[in-house]
């Protein structure tokens, strides 16, 4: 068990390193960052001064090490646009993104798992077909468009919810629905197929043969094994939801980290973009690593460290 976790953490560490290098490299893809800061019309002396002030004259590896070291201490540098620390700006905005992401994730999970189980109980039954339609459409409808249409229908036509740009909880209703609908199909499908496999297994038949009532067989025996693949997928989906917030937040004019990233891109405020990319990646790595560990705890066969 410990060995397994250590191994996972080691892989996660290397992935983090690679991801940080990629986010760091973005700063330099555009050419000389000093000129970018000084503005294209800026004087050469200004650029040179900025180069020294920001440390761009140092060897690139030194700059990278310095950036990683600072990032580890929560210092992502200064925003070029606001001229205040990036961490401060992100700190103000991350709450919206996390709220949106986690609530949408919870909603998706609460709908997807029972629906997947119900669909698996009677394959090709009514519920299964409805679930299939829900999944197929959910995978085809672009979430930004669904969001806009929802604003038109429920905001403008019916007036049930505020149209956009409010930090009140009502402002989260549509974004949460749209975002969870996006995450739902994959989770529903994996629950369904996992459950179908498990229900056909001998140990479920054996549990019935012991005279256990259906609900004990399903909740006590089947579900535990059926959710094993769901755990990994759920981590991936949560990561996608958080990084998908960039689209949804700009549709619903929510002042979250995604919208911040988008705005920063439009005004070439690369340190902010860098930091957000790094944060989202690290979050994803943390989530998937956590999922692996949870899986190992749920499945005793993995604990031996053979994987």
């Amino acid at each position: 068990m410990t060995l397994f976790i250590l191994k996972r953490l080691l892989i996660a560490f290397f992935v983090c390193l690679a991801v940080s290098a990629i986010s760091f490299a973005l700063m330099f893809l555009s050419g000389d960052p000093a000129i970018a800061i000084a503005g294209s019309g800026g004087r050469a002396e200004d650029a040179a001064a900025i180069r020294v002030a920001y440390g761009f004259d140092r060897p690139i590896l030194v700059q990278y090490a310095d950036w990683v070291w600072s990032a580890l201490h929560g210092d992502f540098g200064q925003s070029i646009y606001f001229n205040i620390p990036v961490s401060e700006i992100i700190g103000n905005r991350i709450g919206v993104t996390l709220t949106l992401g986690f609530v949408a994730f919870a909603v998706a999970l609460i709908v997807a798992v029972p629906l997947g189980i119900a669909a698996a109980m009677r394959p090709n039954g009514l519920i299964d077909r409805l679930a299939l339609i829900l999944a197929v459409t959910g995978q085809a409808i672009p979430s930004f468009w669904l969001g806009l249409m929802a604003i038109v229908v429920f905001g403008a036509w019916y007036g049930w919810v505020p149209i956009s740009g409010t930090e009140e909880w009502q402002g989260y209703i549509l974004p949460v629905i749209v975002l969870s609908y996006y995450a739902l199909p994959a989770m529903m499908r994996i629950t369904r197929s996992g459950m179908i496999d498990v229900l056909a297994s001998d140990y479920v038949r054996a549990a019935y043969a012991k005279g256990l009532p259906a609900h004990r067989v399903i909740w006590g025996h089947a579900l535990r094994n059926a959710v094993l693949p769901l755990v990994s997928l759920a981590a991936v989906q949560l990561g996608l939801l958080l990084s998908g917030s960039i689209v949804i937040e700009s549709v619903f004019a929510l002042n979250g980290m995604g919208r911040l990233a988008w705005e920063s891109l439009l005004r070439s405020d690369l340190p902010v973009v860098q930091a957000i990319i790094l944060l989202l990646s690290l979050l994803y790595v943390a989530l998937t690593t956590l999922a692996d560990i949870v899986n190992a705890m749920l499945d005793p066969r993995l604990r031996g460290g053979s994987i």
Binding site: F14, A18, P142, L148, M149, V152, G239, W262, L280
Partner: protein, 290 residues
Amino acid sequence: MTARSAKAPSNPVLRRILTNSGVSIGGGVLILFVLMAMLAPLLAPHDPFAQDLTRRLLPPFWHDRSVSEHLLGTDHLGRDYLSRLIFGAQVSLGVGLGVIMVAGAIGVTLGLLAGYFGGRVDMFISFIIATRLSLPIVLVALAAVAVGGASLRTLIIVMGLLLWDQFAVVTRAATQSLRSQEFIVGLRAIGASTPRILFLEILPNMRSTILVVVTLEVANVILLEAALSFLGLGVRPPTPSWGLMIAEGRDNILFDPWLIALPGSLLCLLVLAVNLFGDGMRDITGPKRK
């Protein structure tokens, strides 16, 4: 034993009809879209770029103030909406195809190498895949397009560099199972060169698997292109991309919602068709459902 060998209805009749109709309906709609893209210059009643500021925001035919000349009305610059929608299919499918070629080449090559050589090569490539998966794709694509300069070519390359993961994962697994099969072992024994084995023996054996990934990934690409264009960092105006048209229609969302409803519906329909086709193909060709 007996119960196992007897067929359970989860597979037969109903499902097969469902999947087959998925392939045929999805494939049929997809062909219509392809025809629409290829024949766009013939089908479109107007020049999709021709502006006429005196005839801005004309409503489509089901509104009473509509103008019969513009069946689906005009956009905020007075361009014929139907023509722009028809040309939009070119962008979606063109970008889809271009990205798939880039992504497929990268992903399949990595997957072949990882699956065939195993060991350290596999470990390294799996690590690259893990790194790619942890990057927030929309944001990285936006950033890369922003710094790389927005052109259709940059867009295709950037998305291709980002969307190869499924190809790699699937190819890797398929290669692993093929590698140990007798005809490959035999070829190795008679000293066939590794590239020959990889590209002439193993690769053709997983055509159908890769075809499934291609279709399902095309759907992803189309959605991502639309999202990037919607955010203003994908396809540039005045090119008629459906995602961009939705973004342009946003200013008039409350009064002229058809401006976003129409391109969005086409987008949904296309992605739905591609997904139905891909899912159906997977069920028909793949021995295992995922």
